[in-house]
C-alpha cells in the first residue's frame, strides 16, 4: 500500500525488550517494535505466536512480565486507564452486549468513556450510517449476521474517536462481501489519520492494509518490514508450482543450481528472483509435468518461509 509512515515523527507505541510468560510458557519473548502515528501496522503469525498477547499488553488486559511498553508516551503498567480512553479495541470474539439493541450497544459503550449522551447519540447514528447498520438500529444483537456483528464491533471501537484502533483478526470467518466491507471502512479510518494495529491470519488482508508488519512465531519477531519489500527480499518475484513433483526436483536442481526449490507433499515450488521465462520453458519442454502454475510471489510465501509448514493446532 502507500508509504505514509514517516520515521521523523515520534512513535506512538514503543516496545523494548518486551517479555511475557504464563507460568512456564513464554508467550512473548523479548520483542522490540515501534509504531508511528498514522500507519497501519500488522502482527502476523500462526496460532500461539504471541500476537494477541502483545495486543493485550498494549491495552492493559495482560500485565507485562518484564521490559518496556509505552503507548502515547505513557507506560502501560501505570496509565492503563488513560491509554484505553484513547484506544479503540475491536476484539476477536463477539462481546457485544446481548441485553441491548444495536443503537443501545453504542450508547451504553459511550457512557463507559464518559461521553455525554447527546454527543454519543450523534456519533452512534453517524457510525451506524457509515457501517450500513442504521436500518438495524433497534434490532437485538442476536438477530444480526456475523458480518453485521463485526461491523458493529468496529463501530463500537470508534465511538470514542480513538487515536489508535486495535483490530484482532477483524475479518476471520466472514464472507468476501463482508470482508471487503470491513477493509473499506478500515482504510477510510486510516485516511482520517487513525493509527491501526492489526493481527491477522490472512496474508491478502495484511498485504492490502498494512504499511509495515512483523511476522511472529513462538513469541519472537522473525522479520519486520513493508509487505512488498519483504516479498521481494525474502521470496522474490514469481513462483512456479509443479504437481506432482516426483523426480523433477533433482533434474531442476541439476540444471539450475542457483534456484531456490522446495517440496511439500509432492508439490514443488520454485522461487524466481526475477521474472524468468527460461526456467518455465525448460520445464515445459523437458519435464512436461502434469500441472504447472506460475504465479506472483505473495506474503504467504514469506509467511511459510519464516514459520514453516508445520500444523499449529
Amino acid at each position: 500500500m502507500s508509504s505514509t509512515s514517516t520515521p521523523q515523527k515520534e512513535p506512538i507505541i514503543v516496545a523494548r525488550d518486551l517479555y511475557k510468560t504464563y507460568g512456564d510458557l513464554v508467550a512473548v519473548d523479548h520483542i522490540d517494535f515501534k509504531i508511528y502515528p498514522g500507519e497501519c501496522f500488522g502482527f502476523l503469525g500462526p496460532h500461539g505466536a504471541g500476537k494477541t498477547t502483545t495486543m493485550k499488553m498494549i491495552y492493559g488486559f495482560s500485565p507485562i512480565t518484564s521490559g518496556h511498553l509505552t503507548v502515547f508516551g505513557l507506560p502501560v503498567q501505570s496509565h492503563s486507564r488513560q491509554i484505553r480512553a484513547r484506544l479503540g479495541i475491536c476484539p476477536q470474539e463477539d462481546n457485544l452486549d446481548p441485553d441491548f439493541t444495536v443503537l443501545e450497544n453504542l450508547l451504553v459503550y459511550a457512557r463507559y468513556f464518559g461521553i455525554p449522551k447527546s454527543v454519543a447519540l450523534d456519533r452512534a447514528l453517524q457510525l451506524l450510517d457509515f457501517f450500513d447498520l442504521l436500518h438495524k438500529k433497534d434490532q437485538i444483537i442476536r438477530t444480526l449476521s456475523g458480518g453485521m456483528k463485526r461491523r458493529l464491533l468496529l463501530a463500537r471501537a470508534m465511538i470514542n474517536h480513538p487515536e489508535v484502533l486495535i483490530l484482532d483478526e477483524p475479518t476471520t470467518g466472514l464472507d468476501p462481501q463482508a470482508r471487503h466491507a470491513i477493509w473499506d471502512r478500515i482504510l477510510s479510518f486510516k485516511e482520517q489519520g487513525v493509527t491501526i494495529l492489526l493481527t491477522t491470519h490472512y496474508m491478502e488482508e495484511a498485504e492490502r492494509l498494512c504499511d509495515r508488519l512483523v511476522i511472529m512465531d513462538h513469541g519472537r519477531i522473525l522479520v519486520e518490514g513493508r509487505p512488498q519489500q519483504l516479498i521481494h527480499d525474502l521470496v522474490g518475484h514469481e513462483v512456479i508450482e509443479i504437481y506432482p513433483a516426483n523426480g523433477f526436483v533433482d533434474r531442476i536442481r541439476e540444471r539450475f543450481p542457483d534456484l531456490e526449490v522446495e517440496t511439500y507433499h509432492n508439490r514443488l515450488e520454485i522461487f524466481l528472483r526475477e521474472s524468468d521465462t527460461e526456467v518455465t520453458e525448460y520445464i515445459l519442454e523437458h519435464l512436461q509435468p502434469p500441472s504447472l502454475y506460475v504465479r506472483r510471489a505473495t506474503l504467504e510465501d514469506v509467511f511459510f518461509k519464516m514459520t514453516g509448514r508445520q500444523l499449529r493446532d
Binding site: G60, P63, A85, N95, E104, R111
Partner: protein
C-alpha cells in the same frame, strides 16, 4: 498492576456499570417485579396463616407477624446472591460483557464494584416490594419499618460481596449449587427466620452468629419492623460492615487474578 494485594483501582466509572445493569433491568421491569410480589404472599399464607394456626405465637407475637420481617430479609439475601452469582457469571463468562467494558477507561475493579452495587440495589428494590406486601397485611410498625429500605441496601452489599467472591472462584456455573445448598439454604432455615434461634443448642447459636450473615440481617430487620432496635444491633452492623469490606476486597483481588492474566 495485577498484584493480588494492590490497592483497588476504583473510580466514579463504576456507576456506568451499575447504570448498564439498571438499564437492562428497566427493560423488563414488568416481568421482573411480579415474582417478588407474589412469593411472599405465598409464604404468608402457607406459613403465616397455615402453620400459624397451630403455632399461634412466638415471643408474644402472632406467628405471621413473626415471619413477615424474615421474608423481607430473605428477599435481600436471595436477590443480591442470585444477581452476583448466576447473573454476574453469565455476563462475565458467557456474554464476555466484562471484557468488553474493560476495553474502555473502566477498570475491572470498577466493573466488579458496579456489579456489587447493582446486586445491593436489586436487594433494595425487591425488599421494598416485599415490605410493601407485608405492610398491606399490616404486619409491621410504621413509620419505623421504612428504615428497612436503606438497611436492605447494606444487607445487599454484604450478600453481593459474598456472591461475587464465589463468582470469582467457581470453575463453572454449575458450581454455584454448592454455596446455594450448603450456605444459602441453611441460612434460609436456621437464621431465626421461621423459629427463634434460642431453641438451637448454644454451640449452634454461636456458630450461626459468627458465620451466617442472615442471622444479623434478620435480627435487625425484625427489630426495625417492630419499631425497636436489637440489643446487639450495633454489633450486627459492625459484623456486616467488616465482612462486606473483607469480601469485597477478596472479590476484587480474585476477579483480577481470574481475568487479568
Amino acid at each position: 498492576m495485577n498484584s493480588f494485594w494492590m490497592k483497588p483501582d476504583l473510580s466514579w466509572r463504576m456507576w456506568t456499570v451499575w447504570q448498564r445493569d439498571r438499564d437492562v433491568y428497566w427493560k423488563t421491569f414488568k416481568v421482573n417485579f411480579l415474582p417478588p410480589l407474589l412469593e411472599p404472599i405465598l409464604y404468608l399464607f402457607a406459613l403465616g396463616f397455615g402453620l400459624g394456626a397451630f403455632v399461634k405465637e412466638i415471643q408474644g407475637i402472632p406467628y405471621v407477624q413473626y415471619i413477615a420481617p424474615a421474608l423481607v430479609a430473605i428477599s435481600m439475601m436471595y436477590n443480591a446472591f442470585f444477581e452476583c452469582t448466576y447473573s454476574s457469571f453469565v455476563r462475565m463468562y458467557y456474554q464476555k460483557t466484562f471484557d468488553a467494558i474493560i476495553a474502555t477507561p473502566v477498570s475491572l475493579d470498577d466493573v466488579v464494584m458496579g456489579e456489587i452495587l447493582w446486586g445491593a440495589t436489586k436487594a433494595l428494590i425487591n425488599a421494598t416490594i416485599v415490605l410493601a406486601v407485608v405492610m398491606a397485611f399490616r404486619l409491621v410498625t410504621l413509620p419505623h419499618a421504612l428504615l428497612i429500605i436503606p438497611f436492605s441496601f447494606l444487607a445487599g452489599l454484604l450478600f453481593s460481596a459474598i456472591a461475587m467472591f464465589f463468582t470469582a472462584v467457581v470453575p463453572s456455573i454449575d458450581s454455584f449449587n454448592y454455596p446455594f445448598y450448603l450456605f444459602i439454604t441453611p441460612m434460609f432455615l436456621f437464621s431465626g427466620t421461621f423459629f427463634p434461634m434460642d431453641v438451637l443448642p448454644p454451640i449452634l447459636q454461636k456458630f450461626a452468629w459468627a458465620t451466617l450473615p442472615l442471622t444479623h440481617v434478620v435480627s435487625v430487620t425484625r427489630a426495625l419492623a417492630m419499631g425497636t432496635w436489637p440489643a446487639q444491633g450495633w454489633a450486627s452492623l459492625l459484623w456486616m460492615g467488616g465482612v462486606t469490606v473483607l469480601m469485597t476486597y477478596l472479590s476484587l483481588a480474585l476477579m483480577r487474578r481470574r481475568l487479568i492474566v
